[in-house]
């Protein structure tokens, strides 16, 4: 049912090249999910999230030290330097962490493109004036896009972009809701491929595929023991091998029923509420979305959000992960782990690298799963 999403995700570069050929449009890569895709869509551009390939590249070490740079960003940058993203016409960074920022600057300098834009998204999404500030930054971004593509982006264009992305997020949430069932109708691996493929596809095409899935999904029969219901919490999760291992290779059954990641529900949780000032409407959506650790201060909004998901998806155990050298998630994970333990929630913390030690991780996940069973 989800094979097509997985196939496109696996062959994402071919998809983007083909899209360019079919439409004659431009493709823009973005690093972080705080880059607003709606104005890009409105400009007739395909936004593609830049992710790694879980492959090392010796081209990165000249620019980012391997003993400080986050493994995800080094992997993503490596793919750029190796030429995997040679179809990009531009790149955009919606400011989040230092690591994605540095990957952007290195990319801009060493992989010249027609268009590059660093968008100053507020670090905090709680400060006074942040919504107005971001709306003004969006206006500057829109002007830069218009200058590049040589035409005005009208309100009607923005409405189309907003509608496409709102629909996309709504459909993803509808499909995710089937994971709340006692025997979830969607596995975590499928959910990741579904959501992540959206971030590299034309959303209208992605929406059409999801509508087809929703026609059949209610009747789906799962022939697997759901086992322990796991929530995965971390940053950008592209590790399909890990997801597959947890759900299909462990001796103890388990299903990843929900996540707090920017390739999952955190990105798809809220919509743009239409209003006359379209850029302000988009600003409100990005300011009010569930935050990543970088943007979660002074008050902690992540922990209540995580607790809400735990309840809604009947979570039995939590896997916290961070990419190697991802300081923002390390900072939050210590606090979240303490909160989870206070709730009596079995919790496992893992550190992902460009490649993960899958055998060791399997042992650790199984050990954690054992603690959720009555056999101990």
């Amino acid at each position: 049912m989800f094979e097509k999403f997985s196939e496109i995700l696996t062959n994402r570069h071919e998809y983007a090249r083909d899209w360019k050929k079919r439409t004659g449009g431009k493709v823009v890569g973005f690093f972080c999910s705080y880059a607003p895709e709606e104005p890009l869509k409105a400009a007739g551009i395909l936004p593609v999230r830049i992710i790694g390939g879980h492959k090392s590249s010796d081209k990165v070490a000249k620019y980012i030290a391997p003993n400080i740079g986050c493994s995800f960003c080094r992997d993503a940058l490596g793919r750029g330097l190796e030429g995997d993203y040679d179809y990009l016409d531009g790149i955009v960074q919606g400011q989040t962490c230092l690591h994605t920022g540095e990957a952007f600057w290195v990319w801009q300098k060493h992989i010249p493109l027609e268009f590059s834009y660093f968008l100053a998204v507020p670090h905090s999404t709680q400060t006074i004036g942040r919504e107005e500030y971001l709306a003004v930054e969006y206006a500057k971004f829109k002007t830069a896009l218009e200058k590049w593509i040589g035409k005005e982006i009208t309100n009607e264009d923005l409405d189309r972009g907003i509608e496409s992305y709102n629909t996309n997020r709504q459909l993803i949430r509808q499909i995710f809701e089937y994971r709340q069932q006692d025997n979830p109708l969607v596995t975590g691996s499928e959910a990741l491929d579904l959501a992540l493929s959206g971030q590299i596809m034309d959303r209208d095409e992605h929406n059409a595929m999801m509508r087809e899935v929703l026609k059949k999904l209610p009747e789906r029969k799962m022939d697997r023991d759901p086992g322990t219901r796991i929530m995965i919490i971390g940053s950008v999760n592209t590790d399909r091998e890990f997801m597959h291992m947890v759900e299909h290779e462990c001796d103890i059954p388990a299903t990843i029923v929900i996540d707090d990641t920017c390739t999952g529900i955190r990105y798809n949780f809220n919509d743009v509420n239409p209003q006359e000032d379209r850029l302000m409407a988009i600003s409100l959506r990005y300011n009010h979305r569930p935050p990543c650790p970088n943007k979660d201060w002074p008050r902690r909004r992540r922990i209540p959000f995580i607790k809400h998901l735990i309840k809604a998806y009947k979570v039995d155990a939590v896997i916290l992960f961070n990419h190697k050298f991802c300081q923002p998630h390390q900072l939050d994970n210590a606090v979240i782990e303490r909160e989870m333990k206070a709730m009596g929630m079995p919790t496992l913390t893992l550190e992902f690298d460009i490649r993960i030690p899958i055998g060791q991780f399997r042992t650790r996940v199984e050990a954690m799963l054992e603690t959720t069973m009555d056999i101990i």
């Binding site: 030290a65 920022g101 540095e102 600057w105 670090h123 004036g129």
Partner: protein
Amino acid sequence: MSKYKTEPMKLWKRIKEFKQNHFKEYHEAHKNGRLRFLGATALSISQYTGFENAVIMGSEPFAANIAFWKDFGLKCMEECERRGMTRELCGYSKCVWGAQFLNKNIMPDGTMLSEWGKPDFASSFSLAPCHCKWFQILCENSDTPMYLFDLTKAYPYNDENLIKYMTGQMLDCIEQAEKAVGQPFIDELFIKGVKNEFKSYRTWCDIMILNQTTPAPMDEKTIFSFIVPNLTKAYGDDTVALMQELKEEVRDRVNRGIAAVANEQFRIITDAIPPWPALELYRYLEREYGGVVVGSPYVICLCGSWKFENDEGDLIPTPTPVELGMPMNTREEVARALVWYRSHFSTETPYNIACGEVLHELTLKIAKQWHADGGMLHQNIGCTMQALGSMESRNAVAEAGIPCINYEGNDADPREIDLTNMKRKFDIFFEANNVKRLTKKAA
């Protein structure tokens, strides 16, 4: 015989006393019926001068002092790690969290204190995102009212949207602080404090420019002590006077050809916070090779405000709002002027990764304008913000024909400082650049 005349800095003892006294004033504030404010210096701490009885401490010097006293610093690190904080996190954060967890602190002269120094109000700026997470955790753990500023993109400077956004936050912070400490904010004091900060910072720029002279009148290890007044009390009349005196002394050294290092033969730039637990490496460079560190984006920008001339040319001091005749009669006007001035290359804004487009250019300009023969850039593992841009800064300097290396270290964690390997790397660097060793190498 030495190449140049040298003599100690006359103000050395006074600067040390200044630091000791300011720390004492902070720690004894409650005993003296005063309020403690702890603030990140990333944008400014002068907004608290409007509180009549405030003692304001800059959180970075507060942390650096712990890091310098490495035995205590190490205990702080280990205490954090016992509580789930990983080894890779910000060194300064772990110093202060550790002091908080242990409820101990240390004075600049090494005297141990039996209380860490809980502030009555705290603030930080998102220079690096972890700068605010630092204070989030600190304040949650101590139930301290806080205000965390969002400093977004600091370049291009003079951006009206940023100035408006930051000014709004500063005014909001003042209101929140008033409520939290229950005392009125006096605008006249605020105006005076901010004007003093402008004077102190502008004078610092002049002092740094004097260090472009050969031989350099000051070396960076010495400069580290002289940054403290501006970092933690730029708003004070005493700091204004002290900076003026320092400028006169440095000018006098330049006029008389007094060198910081008598055998100066190789001028070096660095880029970041030094490895505080291992400052002896500076003396190694001087003693063994006549290598004098003449500046860095860190010390030059930390206590001044700079910009590119015509946005493309040399690095020059930013004219102060007073010099430019900006209106400074109301709280809002002063907050705006302060934000405008400090959102240039000031404190550590050049490192903010949002400024990646100019950090490397800035480092190269400093190398050229301060007449560096080479660069030794600190890959500071204790500060992600500084370490991330360091390799590209090295590339920019080296590609411009100025030999440059990165060396790995940590601003706070002595376990991550391998002095033996650092020295070995420096030896090879000097040898490769035909710099004669001044002493016989130990067998």
